[in-house]
Amino acid sequence: MGRSRNQLVALLGLMFALLPPVAFGAEAPRVTAVLSNSQAQVGEMVQMQIRITGARGAQIPDISVDGLEIHQTGSSQQFEMRNFDMTQSVTYSFTILPLKPGGFTIPPQKIKVGSTTLETPELRLAVVGSGGTTARPSQGSQSSRGSGGNNADDAQTTGGKLAFVDLIVTKKAAYVGEMIPVEIRVGFNSRSHGRPLEPPELSSQGFTMQKVDVPDQPRIQTIDGRTYEVWSFKTAIAATRAGNFDIGPAQIGALVAVPKQRQQNSRPRSPFDLFNMDDPFSDPSFQDPFGYFTTMQRATLKSDPVHLEVKALPPNAPADFSGAVGNFSLTGDANPKSVQVGDPVTLTATISGKGNFDRVSAPTLEDEHGWHKYPPSAKFKQDDTVGFSGTKSFEMVVSPNEKKTNVPPLRFTFFDPLKEQYVTLKTDALPIKVEGGSMPSVAAAGPSATAAPARTTPATSAEPPVAATPAPQDILYQVTEWPARPGSFVPLYRSNIFLGAQLLPLAALLGYVGWKLRQRRLLDREARRTAALHHEANDLVRALKRDGVSPQEYYTRASQAIRVKTALALKIDPNVVDLDDVIAAFHLDEASRNRLQRLFEQTDELKYSGGGNGTQTIAPEQRRETLELIESLRA
């Protein structure tokens, strides 16, 4: 079985090996050229591809267009088979960096393929951008490609099979401080399911680097017949000193799928691996959609370093040069247009262009005589993702000390690396009307010291200017009375006296709570006592209604019931109740008093005479009267 399979593979391989010459020979070579975008902004990179179909070994000339920086970045081969007709094509990739706005034409390029000379079509590129940029001669860019050295299996990642890193630096030489756009491309074979874990790091001693722009998603690109997902990270660097430097390597941590270790190190070559490409993805494990044969591993991918020559800025820089390198334009404005002497005037200066905006400082007045300046404020609005191009706006507040008809021109100096010289930009004088007399100069000391009118903070200088002409002022007199009370910088809430004083309300609160609780407890006790007496009185009345009770017991209970009722009415102890208390409590009439007296007397008589030992009973009439008397006792 295995033998017949090997024979089949060999046969198919032979067929494919024989086909290309026939097929390639059948088709005449042709060339096409395309741009990834026909419109771009200054500084925005555009891709160009020249594709030669039906031939190999073409000689691609250097392409040079004034105002465009064009560099070849690589080539890739594609094989295509349709109805047994195999086509081979080679694609040469270029990057184009527009240096100035305008319409550009990339002329037809003559490409020699064997004995044939092909000609690319003419390409047009429209470049828009902020004004003030100037074309420069192409200085060339460089790119370097590297692949992964990693924690994973090196054999899986070398040779640009699984992943690669390209470091593209658009210049070979630059000046100190000049911003150089850099692109780091990280490609993953589409079948490796690779992805970067973090933005790339760029080893660049002697350089400052802008924030790296991280793409949201990769582009699909075919390189050497394989499909790659290419992540393009953009940034810009600027040299801090002159010399020859190696930029990079660019390094990035990534996650890639690699085949799991197999027991046999050697694997049969795929029948489709006709050109001995040794593609690890021809391993059947990569046909497994569920990743049964693959494992995700972290890998560190590296590019090769790129060499860059950094030149020092020329000597004899103008005095107002602050280190800005690039290409800029300057506009200015002043508001309000009509003011009084001493009033604030807001100057707005806008510097636009490309370059190291972090070193772009506020323009200066060409002639500062008769003006008082306040520190400026600045805002930067970048036009790209890395801050290479944009607009920096300055707001400066100045105030005239004398009559003026205009604000002197604003000037700004930078170094232009294209012209290789310092450039000083100047605005026109800004017309303004300053009225009023000259301000007296400010005396540093002495009673005659004068003062300018009140001013606002420059940042808030948009407020309406003070209309009145300033009048000389002197400080007020010395106070000689020593205050009775000393002051303290300690806030009141931290002072010991204040904190100590809080003990008073605290004590009052605790006293109030204690008093209320005690009051409530006393009320509770009285209520419990009253309830017990009510209960006792009811029990006694119920007992009096029962038969078979001895006279002594009966009268004792009856008098106790009366005492309890009286105690309830008078809120006193039942044991101290006497006849007078009962009469006073219930306002009894004469008859009731007599009956009550008799009841008490009978009770005492039975209690002290020992009559309770006999078998006498109480007449029902007497019981009824006694019960009526007790029930009639209501307060």
């Binding site: 520190p375 009118p453 205050p483 002051g487 806030p491």
Partner: protein, 244 residues
């Protein structure tokens, strides 16, 4: 009891009388100021400041002396101190404005909360918060130990909420641009920078007398909020905090 109260009143009166006595250094400093000997006057005033016997008048007079000497930064600092002790000191307020105009000092823009709460001082807010706090506590205590009226409960909670609002106001003022971290630039040629190095990029050049708010300190450098909503590092020796 009445006798004890009388003794206390007399004692307090005597204490007050003792504090009201003018220190000799103060009288001498005033004389030197009148004679135009501002350096000697400043030395005498500063001696009093060192003793901790502070009041708004002392700082106001000291500010005037610095002003006459031409040291606008320290003049503004001392006027600010006088106003910190006595916010309604009209002379200090007037002279502060003149000194600021002369030095072109920059001021921190007050936040909207500062502007909103400026009608009262921290002292006023503290007393009001204290009253609201105890009213709320008494109300709650009454609710729990006496008749449970929902109205009483609502009033108590409202008082405590007012206390919370006032406490927050105190926090905002104390941590705002006019709060305890307020400082004044007293040395000339002070430039706020992006980092703690003289070679670091400049953020803002600060004229003497400019206000900053100290955010943190690292060694001899201070990180501060600056006018124009900026922030930067500056030498600690170049600024002085208003509150001692």
């Amino acid at each position: 009891m009445k006798k004890l109260v009388r003794i206390l009143i007399v004692a307090i009166g005597l204490t007050g009388a003792a504090q009201a006595e003018t220190p000799p250094e103060f009288a001498r400093a005033n004389q030197e100021f009148g004679a135009g000997n501002f350096d000697i006057a400043i030395a005498d005033y500063e001696k009093l400041v060192q003793t901790g016997n502070w009041n708004a008048t002392l700082f106001y007079d000291l500010g005037n002396s610095y002003y006459r000497k031409g040291d606008f930064g320290r003049a503004i600092l001392n006027y600010d101190r006088a106003l910190a002790l006595e916010p309604n000191h009209p002379e200090a307020r007037a002279n502060l404005r003149i000194a600021r105009d002369n030095s072109h000092a920059l001021q921190l823009a007050p936040a909207w909360t500062d502007r909103l709460l400026r009608f009262a001082t921290v002292q006023h807010y503290t007393i009001a918060a204290c009253i609201a706090f105890w009213a709320g506590l008494f109300g709650l205590a009454a609710f729990f130990v006496s008749r449970r009226s929902p109205f009483r409960m609502v009033l108590s909670l409202l008082a405590l909420a007012v206390c919370g609002g006032l406490a927050y106001s105190i926090y905002v003022i104390e941590n705002g641009n006019t709060g305890r971290s307020l400082a004044v630039v007293t040395s000339p040629n002070i430039t706020a920078r992006l980092a703690t190095a003289d070679s670091a990029a400049a953020v803002l050049a600060l004229p003497v007398g400019s206000e900053v708010r100290i955010l943190s300190q690292r060694g001899e450098w201070v990180y501060a909020a600056l006018p124009n909503d900026l922030r930067g590092w500056m030498p600690a020796t170049g600024i002085e905090q208003v509150r001692l």
